[in-house]
């Protein structure tokens, strides 16, 4: 296997996950991408001996590790000392964590079966048992009533359509956004109104954080190692909101996806941070669309060349403006898909050459004026209503090679 020195940790994690930690890896100096092909080619000479050795010499087999399973460990009693210890032991996301004592974890598990395997999480195929999820929920400060939402979110992110391995390991700034629908949102105080994606809401904070800590600690996406995000984004601490169903002029997301209005669901998507859409002037759907589509149609977006199902979060006032023009949600999606496009000529020649190479079916016949849509089909565009009073909405692009997943909360 060949790689660059900056990404050795991911190469090692990938081969270890497949039971082959002794897979020979030859490294060239980073970077390999974004440099002229001649310079990439010139890096071959230096690793030739190593590659030949890797193909002709059996490496010593490693010693098999032992499965950790649930384990009690001794940590400092002092809460401030515990924070330092938690960072040293890679338990934490950097914010203060609460100690997962036996009593707190037992309260979170409640009458559930601690050994129940909820999901296996990439990249390390970590076993997300109810117990393991509860331990991470305890670290995040969650209460027992939050656990069913967290468990449903863990189940959802492990569904193959989400492509969790790529979401966890990519350099792209994405993380699962958790959208909660149904009556559980009001019952638990999961905010979908003012500042829904901001601070000030315990349920949003601890549910998103518990999922993220589970992905880090059980899934094994450690920042800078398996999690190769170039910059990451603040939603990697927590990223959760409810749809503002009461103020939506349309059916909510979970109803659109075949669930009953009285059922509660989580929807997860591999999402970038929200990109704001400020429009204080428009009074009709047609005129508002210029701002919404204009915010989406940018050259730096993964969705433009990879597809996927990006999200439009309409603030309630913008949603009302759209609905008062007589548009259904499906009509909004169709118009948005028509409008949110980038002409190929806006990309650099280097990038166009790469698109043609990696996605010939989409780009081979494309000319300079070919318009690239923000999603593959109108139906792929996700739309929810959230937020409070004000004239703002948000575009939430995704990793692209991912599809959102909706799961019922049991």
């Amino acid at each position: 296997m060949l790689g660059t020195d900056a990404f050795l940790s991911l190469a090692k994690a990938t081969s270890a996950k497949h039971g082959l930690p002794h897979m020979p890896v030859a490294l060239v100096p980073h970077p390999l991408g974004g440099i002229p092909a001649e310079r990439a080619r010139a890096k071959a000479d230096a690793i030739l001996d190593e590659v030949l050795r890797g193909l002709t010499t059996d490496p010593a087999p490693p010693v098999a590790g032992t499965s950790a399973g649930p384990m009690l460990v001794e940590a400092p009693d002092d809460l401030d000392a515990f924070q330092v210890w938690a960072m040293e032991h890679e338990w934490s996301d950097g914010l203060p964590v609460l100690p997962p004592t036996e009593a707190r974890v037992a309260r979170l598990v409640g009458r559930g079966s601690a050994d129940e395997l909820i999901a296996t999480l990439m990249p390390l195929d970590g076993r997300a048992t109810l117990h393991a999820i509860a331990v991470n929920a305890a670290l995040a400060g969650a209460a027992p009533e939050h656990l069913p939402v967290i468990v449903a979110a863990v189940r959802a992110v492990a569904t193959p359509e989400l492509n969790l391995n790529a979401i966890q390991c990519t350099t792209h700034p994405c993380t699962p956004l958790v959208i909660v629908n149904g009556p559980i949102a009001a019952r638990l105080g999961i905010a979908g109104g003012p500042n829904a994606l901001g601070n000030g809401h315990r349920a949003n904070a601890v549910i998103g954080r518990a999922l993220r800590l589970t992905l880090q600690n059980v899934g094994g996406a450690r920042p800078g190692r398996e999690d190769r995000a170039t910059l990451g984004h603040p939603g990697k601490f927590t990223y959760c909101l409810a749809e503002n169903e009461a103020q939506s002029p349309w059916e909510p997301l979970h109803v659109e996806r075949g669930f009953g209005r009285e059922e509660s669901t989580v929807t997860v998507c591999g999402s970038e941070p929200p990109h704001n859409v400020n429009d204080h002037g428009s009074t009709t759907a047609e005129t508002l669309m210029a701002a919404v589509a204009g915010t989406a149609a940018t050259t730096g977006s993964n969705n433009i060349y990879l597809g996927g199902d990006p999200l439009v979060i309409l603030g309630p006032e913008h949603a009302q403006t759209v609905a008062s023009s007589g548009w259904s949600k499906a009509e909004f999606k169709r118009r948005f898909w028509d409008a949110a496009r980038v002409p190929l000529r806006k990309f650099s020649g280097d990038n166009i050459a790469r698109f043609k190479l990696t996605k010939p079916e989409r780009f081979e016949d494309a000319g300079a004026d070919t318009l690239l849509p923000f999603a593959s089909t109108p139906e792929d565009v996700m739309v929810i209503v959230a937020g409070g009073p004000g004239k703002h909405s948000a575009i939430v692009p995704t990793f692209g090679a991912t599809h959102s997943v909706t799961e019922r909360i049991d």
Binding site: L20, M71, N217
Partner: protein, 90 residues
């Protein structure tokens, strides 16, 4: 204080690598391009230099359409090449 560890038993199985070849002479070197920029350039250059040095029979190229998805042609590659080089990540 005693605390539950947030980690969970993951993959601990140790698999066997395919036996290494004593020499590449007369063998086909496969290249699986992971579709990251310049990965194919480097992989093919290494394979060509190796073939020239060792007397390998030739180089056979494969690629997966996206670095973000697993390769679906592994059986095909295993049938067509004796050793394979591929890339990890960027």
């Amino acid at each position: 204080m005693k605390l539950w560890s947030p980690f969970s038993g993951g993959q601990t199985r140790i698999g066997r690598l395919a036996p290494r070849k004593s020499s590449l002479a007369g063998l086909t070197i496969g290249v699986l391009d992971n579709s990251k920029p310049n990965a194919g350039v480097l992989l093919h250059r290494v394979a060509e230099l190796l073939a020239a040095r060792t007397g390998a029979a030739g180089v056979r190229g494969f690629s997966k359409p996206s670095a973000a998805r697993p390769a679906e042609i592994l059986d095909d590659i295993a049938q067509s090449a004796h050793v394979v080089l591929t890339g990890s990540a960027d």
